[in-house]
């Protein structure tokens, strides 16, 4: 299916968020996730099913003021 990951269209096969993160190369990375504008806690990723057209945000630490 096609989903939008950090603003870019990506083709993935994984159906669950935790598997999708691994497929996208963030299996071991420390990240925070939001799906379609709502926070998805790390513990809920394996139970979160993705659908075609979903918007996924994968964030990590950045400099800030």
């Amino acid at each position: 299916m096609k989903i939008e990951v950090n603003g870019e269209t990506r083709e993935i096969t994984a159906a669950q968020l935790d598997a999708a993160l691994a497929e996208l190369g963030w299996g071991e990375a420390k990240v925070a996730t939001a799906l379609n504008g709502s926070f998805v806690p790390a513990g809920a990723r394996s139970a979160t099913t993705l659908s075609d057209g979903d918007r996924l945000e994968v964030l990590s630490a950045m400099q800030g003021g």
């Binding site: 420390k30 925070a32 996730t33 990590s60 400099q63 800030g64 003021g65």
Partner: protein, 253 residues
């Protein structure tokens, strides 16, 4: 003494982590100033996040994640939730920006987000103005810290509205307040602390100085001076001169 949700700081100085010429300079600025709080952010992971996370964790300071760049309560709330998980802290510097040029807060979105986040167990540091009505709404929402601006973010103008800030400080004697945004010089920080504010937060004033490490130390010294002065009970001002040397005993020449 006012604290920050139960945390007392050994130095009333919070530093941002952005805009330094290099990560090594940023680390040195923290070491040299002994600033006990660092503000951080969350952005789309593009590969640099993991290294930055290791570095800020290594600073050994309190982390204060922000919701910088959020223009709606909903955006800010989601960002705060992600930041709480990522940085493992209930602290959140809540920014809901209302205007692209002045970066002044959207007071309506700010109160909406503060209410939701306080109810959800966050310890909210709202970036606000000197407006007392807005301050009261934020306190009602559950905020025990306020972060009034000195001047627009990144402007370096110092404390733009002394009367407004003084009134705000006096109106909420139990609420810890951090002057956030707009500081340019250590004297601005000293002035804020002399006025009874509990800390200052700065980023650009240090990071964009020619020597950010020395400037961070200068701000640290100013913060110590300002806090010590505030605790020492400054004298009152008078309109007329009063001689400090005794008049009695002066020779008749």
């Amino acid at each position: 003494m006012r604290d920050f949700y139960g945390t007392t700081l050994p130095l009333p100085l919070m530093l941002g982590t952005a805009r330094y010429p290099s990560p090594a300079v940023m680390e040195a600025a923290f070491r040299q100033s002994a600033a006990p709080v660092a503000t951080v952010s969350l952005r789309r992971e593009q590969g640099a996040g993991q290294a930055f996370w290791d570095m800020v964790r290594g600073l050994g300071v309190h982390l204060l994640p922000n919701t910088a760049g959020c223009h709606s309560a909903r955006e800010a709330i989601t960002t705060a939730q992600m930041a709480r998980e990522y940085f493992d802290t209930n602290w959140i510097k809540l920014e809901v920006i209302g205007h692209a040029d002045t970066l002044q807060p959207d007071p309506f979105g700010l109160v909406e987000a503060a209410e939701a986040l306080c109810a959800d167990g966050f310890e909210v540091f709202p970036y606000t103005t000197e407006d007392q009505v807005l301050a009261a709404r934020l306190v009602d929402a559950g905020c025990r810290v306020l972060m009034p601006w000195g001047a627009p973010i990144g402007s370096g103008l110092g404390l733009n509205n002394l009367h407004g800030l003084r009134s705000l400080r006096a109106a909420f004697p139990d609420v810890a307040m951090v002057i956030d945004a707009g500081l340019g010089l250590p004297s601005h920080a000293a002035q804020a602390l002399e006025m009874g504010f509990d800390a200052v937060l700065l980023n650009t004033a240090g990071a964009e100085a020619e020597d950010p490490v020395a400037m961070a130390e200068a701000f640290a010294l100013a913060c110590r001076a300002g806090a010590l002065a505030a605790a020492s009970g400054p004298m009152g001002q008078r309109d007329m001169a009063v001689p400090s040397t005794p008049v009695i005993g002066k020779a008749w020449l």
